[in-house]
């Protein structure tokens, strides 16, 4: 007991800021300045993204504005809408360390962190699947009108190529995403799971 008390007094008497030469006030000030800078940067970045997407949609709509082909319009509508939904949902569901509940008791924090990491990954995979599916529909609808002048076998061949190309892009995207998750998050999840079982 006395030994523990000795260790406690030794430990509590250790003033690391003076011993290690760390200036807490300066660190806090620099953090607040950085935080303000980051908030401004995030705002500018979101603004730039919104402008870029708006420009892209306007350009797409202008490029088909004089076409009198209903499937082109419907197809483009499906593509634009699914892209917008995909981007908005992606921003919402992506894993952010700022969303972690650091003030939870540690056991709950561990469970919550694991579920947030796994949840964001699974949600993305589902979202990506739905997005590619609608993209396939949109592009194929677009080609229904664009390929009207061609013979049916050729039209079917092009539809087949486009659909398969989209499938390859989907599989590749899913593969990269899984690999990235395994590299960036799985070690941390394994660590946390091991801790929760202790």
């Amino acid at each position: 007991m006395d030994e523990l008390k000795d260790l406690q007094s030794l430990w509590q008497g250790h003033k690391l800021d003076t011993d290690l030469g760390i200036d807490a006030n300066q660190l806090t000030h620099s953090f607040i300045a950085k935080m303000k800078q980051t908030e401004k940067k995030v705002f500018r970045l979101n603004l730039a993204k919104t402008v870029a997407i708006s420009l892209l949609i306007t350009t797409l709509l202008l490029s088909i504005s004089d076409m009198r082909a209903p499937f082109v319009w419907i197809g483009m509508g499906v593509i634009v809408l699914s892209t917008l939904i995909m981007m908005t949902r992606y921003w919402q569901i992506q894993f952010k360390s700022t969303n972690l509940n650091h003030d939870l008791p540690q056991n709950e924090f561990i469970e919550d962190t694991i579920s947030q990491m796994k949840g964001a990954h699974m949600k993305f995979l589902k979202l990506f699947r739905v997005f590619v599916f609608f993209l396939m529909i949109g592009i194929n609808l677009l080609y229904v009108d664009l390929l009207q002048a061609l013979e049916m076998p050729m039209r079917l061949l092009i539809h087949g190529i486009v659909t398969n190309f989209m499938l390859i892009v989907f599989l590749l995207g899913q593969f990269i995403r899984r690999k990235k998750f395994k590299r960036d998050f799985q070690p941390l999840i394994d660590d946390l799971e091991a801790l929760s079982q202790q």
């Binding site: 972690l100 008791p105 540690q106």
Partner: protein, 172 residues
């Protein structure tokens, strides 16, 4: 809470709890840059959750939770720092203002204690540093989300391991 109020509150909290935060960081990492890095991460997490503090627990308990949870996820540079450090390392990183025999003896003991803590498991390091901070068992149970009896058993086991390690290190 307005931003200036939040800034003021953060500064007050850091000023009051900085020593405790540093010591907990130190139980986890020992390199000065990493401690500063983790300290900043803790500050960010306190800032992000400041609005959510409703006073359901003591402010110190709330801060301890943020500190231990932030330390738990701080593993980016931790892996290469796992080697047990020696008194020589401490001397190299410190800038002592007092070189008296008493001061050096105290520093040596702290280095031995940290070396022993560093040999414990990740979660045990955090728990023992809370014990060394003088945090009560009920509060540790609240911070860790464990039952009081489980915390008691765990702490006894960690203390035994720590004392054994201190003994081994001083003999070896």
């Amino acid at each position: 809470m307005s931003v200036p109020e939040k800034e003021q509150k953060l500064k007050e909290l850091i000023a009051t709890h900085k020593d405790m935060i540093y010591r907990l960081c130190y139980a986890y990492l020992y390199n000065k840059e990493d401690i500063e890095d983790l300290f900043q991460e803790i500050t960010i997490n306190i800032w992000n959750h400041l609005d959510q503090f409703k006073g359901a627990s003591k402010i110190s308990t709330w801060i301890y939770r943020i500190v231990v949870n932030s330390a738990l996820l701080y593993n980016k540079k931790d892996k290469k720092q796992r080697a047990v450090f020696s008194h020589a390392d401490i001397e190299a990183s410190n800038t002592p203002t007092d070189e008296s025999e008493e001061y050096l003896e105290k520093e040596k003991k702290i280095a031995q204690l940290n070396a022993a803590i560093n040999q414990l498991k990740k979660q045990d390091r955090l728990i023992i540093s809370l014990v060394l901070e003088g945090v009560k068992y009920e509060e540790i149970a609240e911070i860790m989300g464990m039952t009081m009896s489980y915390v008691g058993v765990k702490i006894n086991r960690i203390k035994t391991t720590l004392f054994n390690l201190l003994q081994e290190n001083s003999n070896g």
